[in-house]
Symmetry: C2
């Protein structure tokens, strides 16, 4: 029986499982968003996020899913007569291009098959045409479980196209994968908190470079809700332009303190250990959907080489263990399935889940 | 000492005080937003909201503050060559006009002094010019504590300008004041949940008429995050287009059930009783900022006729009772102060607070 008050434990690639002590942070007494208590919470949290993201530039909190910052990055940083190069390798990078078009911008697609990576060479070849002011990239494609080689891409961009802005969707990458914002030379990066931050959905975190802030001043029709200038103005007072989702910011404060205590290198290592385990299990029982060198450390997409009925296995495990993992996304449904291993999910949790799936295969 | 983990009880006009049992709803285990559990929660909640708002048309949940729907109403329902008449009588109705301009639309202002109401006659006179496709109105101006005569305005609009769309900011009105969406003939109405719904901030509720939905199909550059067409498409599956703020939707479900059990007429009456008490106290000790017939039933703005230092009184009551009320908004700071009486605040709470303020006046 479907009962939202007694939901299954989540191993889908977001929203992910949230620990009870994190959930408790959401039920603290709320604050006046123009009062000193909120400013204190905001400053503490943003200061920690700057350490998490290795940046001394601008970090903002958006009361929205990260999809809102797809729109924000385009409306703020791409002028109406400019063209943006959208790299596309899965459902979410594809949608980033749709959003750019829905904002009335000129879009050119750099598209590979789902499961393939976007390489520095591909981007270089397109940018050599000289007509692009910005590039969109997804760090970690949640639909295919693929991590694009963003460090290599960024090296190439900094060397050959230093004036082209870089907008990175790091929704399922941030925290789980290395992210040195300033060093990478990115202009906008964003993520929702229901992925590796391991908080329920409702808040997005984003960083903006100083040069992207300057650019946004020159673009008209930015609107209001995602106007980076409004965010910057409010940030001076440790506030947000509109009333923020305070419960989630409290939980984010708690999680950032935990991350920094652990150390980001250790956090990334923990994710990679879980990923290695799941990849090993996947190769033993099925196969990886992506080439292994691009396989993500926050979720694994497994190729259904045995032709199991994925939906049935999910249902069986939900019935027996009140736990769900992810079917393939969109057109990859049943052809693949997905196991999340990010946030506060542990290696022990993942071993338990893969054990249950193995039991169903017998 | 400022400590966000031990904040004062809120009598500011939003965020308002939230009951512990409502806060607890936020810390339930979260859901997969594409799973059956979420759809069940979504459908239950939207069905109740339709009763709360007296509508059989479209009700949507936006993971944003209501400010996002300022932008959404404009981007979806005002075409690029059309002109919108923005009625302005305080900080928030003024901002609605700014937002319309920031979306690149033509705006004409109908402006009165803060504390004055917008009347049907004023709107009639402007609309007679024949050049407007839409009108923006704030139901209840949170900055001045004024309720516009929206039922009379709507009667006039339906009779004389049935083709002009009506967008209503009901941020501090919804739930606390009568709102029969279909009968009023409005096209968009919206509110944040941190006002009379008495939930922490992070979620907006909005209703859209069928004709506004049809109109939005014809407008280009709507973007993605607030695209009404995306909301409608997802609503067919009892979902939202982007990952929603699930903890708040759980709390909204809880609050809607409570409201409907009480009955909306009784809810409105309860608000009017608190308001009458506060107005009585205000007239005895100070004066009302607005003409009494326009004074709001969800908050009272009091004219500081005695020249007290409002900030000092707020500080004193915070120190003694860990409770805060609102100073005047913006340019009305110190000239006025504001007491919220909406949501789960009770008459006993309000009597206690006004008693404490009276003590400070001695």
């Amino acid at each position: 029986m479907v009962d939202w008050k007694n939901p299954p434990r989540l191993f889908i690639p977001g929203p992910v499982h949230v620990l009870p002590e994190v959930l408790e942070q959401l039920s603290r007494y709320t604050l006046g968003h123009r009062g000193k208590e909120y400013s204190q919470l905001h400053k503490e949290t943003v200061d920690m996020l700057k350490q998490v993201l290795f940046t001394e530039q601008n970090v903002f909190l958006s009361t929205s899913s990260a999809s809102g910052v797809w729109e924000g990055s385009i409306r703020n940083c791409v002028d109406h007569n400019e063209t943006v190069l959208c790299t596309m390798c899965g459902a979410f990078s594809d949608k980033f291009a749709d959003v750019a078009r829905s904002c009335g911008r000129n879009v050119e697609e750099l598209k590979v098959d789902w499961g393939q990576a976007i390489t520095p060479e591909m981007i270089d070849k397109k940018l050599a045409e000289g007509k692009y002011s910005a590039v969109t990239i997804v760090y970690n494609e949640t639909s295919t479980g693929l991590t694009n080689p963003v460090y290599e891409i960024s090296e190439m961009m900094k060397e050959k196209y230093p004036d082209v802005l870089v907008f990175v969707d790091a929704v399922s990458g941030m925290v789980g994968l290395p992210l040195h914002f300033d060093e990478l030379g990115w202009d906008v990066v964003f993520a929702s908190v229901q992925k590796a931050f391991a908080i329920p959905p409702g808040l997005a975190v984003f960083a903006v470079s100083n040069r992207a802030m300057a650019k946004s001043k020159t673009v008209t029709g930015r609107g209001y809700y995602f106007d980076f200038q409004q965010f910057a103005k409010s940030a001076e007072k440790n506030q947000t332009p509109t009333t923020p989702v305070i419960p989630h910011i409290m939980a984010l404060n708690y999680q950032c303190a935990k991350l920094l205590k652990e150390g980001m290198e250790n956090v990334w290592k923990r994710h990679s250990q879980m990923a290695e385990y799941v990849r090993g299990w996947a190769k033993e029982n099925f196969d990886l959907f992506c080439e292994e060198k691009y396989a993500s450390n926050t979720l694994t997409t497994i190729k259904n080489t045995r032709g199991i009925v994925v939906g049935d296995v999910i249902k069986a495990i939900q019935t027996k263990h009140n736990t769900v993992f992810g079917n393939g996304y969109g057109k990859l449904k049943e052809q693949t399935f997905r196991i999340a291993h990010m946030g506060d999910i542990t290696l022990a949790d993942v071993k338990e889940l893969t054990g249950w799936i193995s039991d169903e295969l017998k």
